[in-house]
Symmetry: C2
Subunit: 334 residues, 2 copies
DNA sequence: GTGAAAGCGCTAACAC
DNA sequence: GTGTTAGCGCTTTCAC
């Protein structure tokens, strides 16, 4: 900026004002300065500007990783959510900083705020550390989490209505005639736990009692899913339907079932969760509970910004809808 | 930092040194300062630090969007690549800034560098603007692009060997007995163009001539793919195999074919490209050309860092491998 | 071993 | 309309 000032024969303040488009500076001078800046390929140094202005328009999106499996970022649902956040943030002119953090040390996410790198945080998934999140909220860190609403929650969440989603999926399977609906998913995670609660509730709604041995806690790992299915068969646990906690899990399970000669939906009806893009093109096309991903990014950003604007923290549940395709046995006219 | 200095009864310089772990400062003082910082939940302001130090360890990952389709970030391959980059950057202690840019104005990507927000750039896909990229390189912007190697290229690329990949896929289909292999993909994009060149080359290798009317330029949009297939059938263009430029396209096409009563692989053998996670669990399991995604993130970061370390720009081609599954008609023993 | 002072690149009173 | 000056939060000579 000093260079430009020298070349333009004015002071740096004038350059600063000109580049900011201030009406105070002579239009002619402004034009000359703009021209000069362009030819020098100069842009204002945002770091210095932020320092001076005392703010920042970067939002950190933090994706926890499971320290046990050390899995890479690969679930299509979360990846899509990141895409959706990128779009929503870009739209509003915010920068997005993508960071990973150990899922057992969610509170480390606060660093990115304390160091002034980001004005606020979107945390993808609350994992098992409700307490750490609450203490971040007490510290005054501005953040929203994608996840479930929990009792005693001091922070804002945005998420689908998992209870309703689980209920919808299970009710659909029961209505189709299934009587032994397997639930598969890591119920320690709050979102999945609520889907499981929906599974229970749907049974109760129908005047049935869910067989607890049909609820299987399985992490999102291909091998574990195949293993689990093998185990069930080996122990002679029969089931005529499967409600999987994610589409990825449903697809992996269907593929594993097929390898064991089990037909979907003839032998086992399947419903997944998320409605990822490929669900529709899977074979059989996957019945699933849709999570509104595009809205999710918008809602998360909206929630964070309103919090930053001083409004009270406010959690949102997005509507979920059952999408019936062939995997749950709905015979469709050709 | 000034607060801490006051509370600790020392000067800011001492606090700065203590927090940096300098051996110059008394161990006892250092401990006291560290303790104080922790209790105040204080962390160094990275923006100010960067300003003073004159550097920055943020890498911008820029994903162009097609201004025509205005599609959101959703292709599983690119999403995975972003995940892979996030992992590779986190591993090396770099921050990742995720940004989007109009694919017709790739040169705008340079802004993030000129404004000092990022030390370097990873551009995902080179699209149609080789020229803009070259001029960025001339300007001295440090960046790598995920894409194809092109003649007269002044910048670094990392990408799969698309020619070899296309050749492999097509040769496999021809070897299986196919004689009319449809190529589907937007050949204007350099990577896809090279896959198409591989399609041609494989025909030549086999002493055949590819029918030019079997090369269809189709963008990555579900409706367009279905449309194209409808059009082909309407015009009575027959084909006994399909080489799709991406798995997403292959899956969408298979689903569309199935709706028209065409069986895969019995009537049409299909090979995709990318080997996304779901390819294996698709039905029929998708034969495809594997792009080494995890390596891709590493290689991109590696290339950028070596460039920043002053080494000469260096492009890399990652090996691609054919993965034969059922969609190309390989009968597999049970 | 510690402090005082200058300066990274910018903006915003406050003069004129 | 434009320049002078101070200061955002930090690091680092240079003194002592």
């Amino acid at each position: 900026m000093a260079d430009i000032a020298r070349l333009a024969g004015v002071s740096v303040s004038t350059v600063s004002r000109a580049l900011a488009g201030s009406a105070l500076v002579n239009a002619e001078t402004r034009g000359r300065i703009a021209e000069l800046a362009r030819s020098l390929n100069y842009s204002i140094n945002i770091g210095a500007q932020n320092l001076r202005l005392g703010h920042n328009n970067t939002v950190a999106v933090i994706v926890p990783y499971d320290p046990n499996t050390r899995q890479h970022l690969s679930d299509p649902f979360f990846l899509s959510l990141i895409g959706s956040l990128a779009d929503a943030l870009t739209e509003r002119g915010h920068d997005m900083l993508l960071t990973r953090v150990d899922a057992d040390r969610l509170d480390q996410a606060a660093q990115v705020f304390h160091t002034g790198r980001a004005m606020g945080i979107v945390l993808v998934g609350q994992w098992r550390h409700h307490d750490q999140l609450n203490s971040m909220a007490v510290q005054g860190v501005p953040f929203v989490v994608w996840g479930a609403q929990l009792p005693q929650q001091l922070y804002a969440t945005v998420g689908g209505n998992n209870l309703a989603g689980g209920r919808l999926a299970t009710a659909h399977l029961l209505a189709g005639g299934a009587r032994r609906v397997l639930f598969m998913g890591d119920a320690d995670l709050p979102e999945i736990g609520q889907r499981r609660a929906g599974w229970l509730a749907a049974h109760a709604d129908a005047g049935l009692v869910a067989d607890a041995s049909l609820s299987r806690s399985v992490p999102f790992v291909t091998e574990r899913i195949q293993q689990e299915l093998a185990l069930l068969q080996q122990h002679g646990v029969a089931f005529d339907a499967l409600f999987a906690a994610s589409d990825l899990m449903a697809m992996t399970a269907i593929s594993a079932l097929r390898q064991r000669g089990v037909r979907v939906p003839e032998d086992v009806r399947v419903v997944g969760y998320d409605d990822i893009a490929l669900a529709e093109h899977f074979h059989p096309p996957l019945s699933t509970v849709r999570q509104p991903i595009a809205d999710a990014g918008q809602a998360l950003v909206q929630s964070l910004l309103s919090q930053l604007a001083g409004e009270r923290r406010h959690s949102t549940q997005l509507a979920t809808a059952l999408v019936v395709r062939d995997s749950s046995g709905a015979a469709r006219a050709a």
